[in-house]
Amino acid sequence: MNLHEYQARALLKEAGIPVPDGDVASTPDEVERIARAIGTGVVVKAQVHTGGRGKAGGVKLAADPGEARAVAEQILGMTIKSLTVEKVLVAPAVDIASESYVGIIVDRESQRPVLMVSPEGGVDIEEVAATTPEKIFKSTIDPRFGLLAHQATAAAFRLYPDIKQVRQAAVILQQLYAAFIDAGASLAEINPLITDDTGNVVALDAKIAVDDNELDRKPDIADLRDVSAEAASEVAAREAGLSFIQLEGNVACCVNGAGLAMATMDLVKFYGGDPANFLDIGGSSNPDKVVTALEIISADSNVKSILFNIFGGITRCDDVANGIVTATKQLAFDLPIVIRLTGTNEELAVEILEGAGFSALTDMDEAVQKAVQLAQEAA
């Protein structure tokens, strides 16, 4: 789960990191009021879960409260990479002397958190990594000990020549690690970490991504989820315990297991089709999940055929069959459905489906080919 910038800033502030004042707003009125309270020039920043806000016109400076209101009117409601801007952050405009990047991620290779810092901040850090990797300094963190003071200091020496700034940055890095752990994050970064006109080190923008598996034990973090910033279909899927991602194609896929779901999408492509989504109904076999899945899939007007690919293990094929029968009755849609079922209770499932007028296949390739063909005929 990604946090908004304003949420990430708040967590950093709680951890003791110096962050400029500022507040979040969802109307131009609020923006004007916040800008007035700040009293200096401000920056108004769209709060959406995507990069490239600046290029898209989602980040603007304003010299006074009136101008802040005006730019907020432009930004609120605009669309950036298909996401509507519902909120903006209003913060004082700061004089920047230097910009660095600092971030902590969980590294799969070392199986540990890794601290990364670069004096090349304020830009796309992946670009820096690709073109000038020597400008990124990495330090592996032993999670049993945390980010040690000497590691933080050594990293800070890569950013600043001045020992006062090194000390400030080292403290900020340790606070960032604390925030990373407290949030159950998979990523926590400050970009840019700046030095301001008085020489102090300050966090200007923050990004935190939380491991979804942490949300159960971190209700405060779970409460930060902003469903208004997500596609409605994905919210509905998550609430039903489904894993769903909307794509552009016309063959809807409904599969149990993420690997098999991806392999099914790949096979759709292999046979000349285009998958409409990724959808994993998971390991359990609750018929209600299948109903929700079909509801979500059929709401997509691009979809021309629906493909079920179920390999029964824990998932019982008869449960899925019952779900399909129930859903098609309730939803009354006329999209063609191709069903492939094999494994646990396969025979029973075939019986249920045939009783409701469906036929069932057992071969994955055959099923995919048929679904692709049906979609092409309907297109």
């Binding site: 290779e109 999670p143 491991d211 991602i245 794509l247 297991g257 690997g259 991806m262 293990g313 998932t315």
Partner: protein, 289 residues
Amino acid sequence: MSVFVDAGTKLVVQGITGRDGSFHARQMMEYGTHVVAGVTPGKGGQRFEDTVPVFNTVADAIQETGANTSVIYVPARFAADAMYEAADAGMELIVCVTEGVPVLEMTKVIPYLRERGTRLIGPNCPGAISPGRSKVGIIPGDICREGHIGVVSRSGTLTYEIIHQLSRRGFGQTSCIGIGGDPIIGTNFIDCLAAFEADSDTKAIVMIGEIGGTDEQNAAQYVTDHVTKPVVGFIAGQTAPPGRRMGHAGAIISGSSGTAAEKMAAFDKAGIAVMKRPADVVPLLEERI
């Protein structure tokens, strides 16, 4: 022969009285796995299915039964502690089926187990099966056959699909290992490749990867350097959009790293026969054995 689990596996089921634990304990017992004990705190002294003794702690279970392997079905919030407990009790192998263990927990579990010399498969994995000998986890026993192919995979049902393709066309398995799709896992591809290479009964290896990370690329390098047996590989997620999480914590691509294309190229370079689709597994094996 087989790897990791075999007829000598003496299994403790952690969470045996829970919904998933009891279901799969029965499945494993029916398959013939030597389930010697269960653990549920507070239920020590009971018997599961009137036969398997239940203990309050893994230490008690080991002391009374001489178990060497543990399988974990406890809820996610207890899973890390279950792994610590099994390792402290001296377990040689832990299979953690539980899904949803926080990644930061795993960054601590891994070195803890390593210090104690305990092997972990998982978490969030289907486990291991050595057909005809022992099944530890949730891989459906009826799709497997005894034979000479070693299967290792990051997926669940996709693994079953490929095992199914193998079995119905006469290619039985020495062992099938589902290592799990989480970003941080215990046993990885290389560990399994090394075990299959060392297992004299295994004639060929099937390796099933996914987008995300660099484990498959590292495995390909390992194949180049150390594996003499034929390897056939598959990568799921060619059509997955970048930057999105595909169900598994593991199946996520960032930028150009961890794409299916990159992994398939690494396989190809290492002389691993790359399947275009799951159904290719048998023809490709037939060419190579």
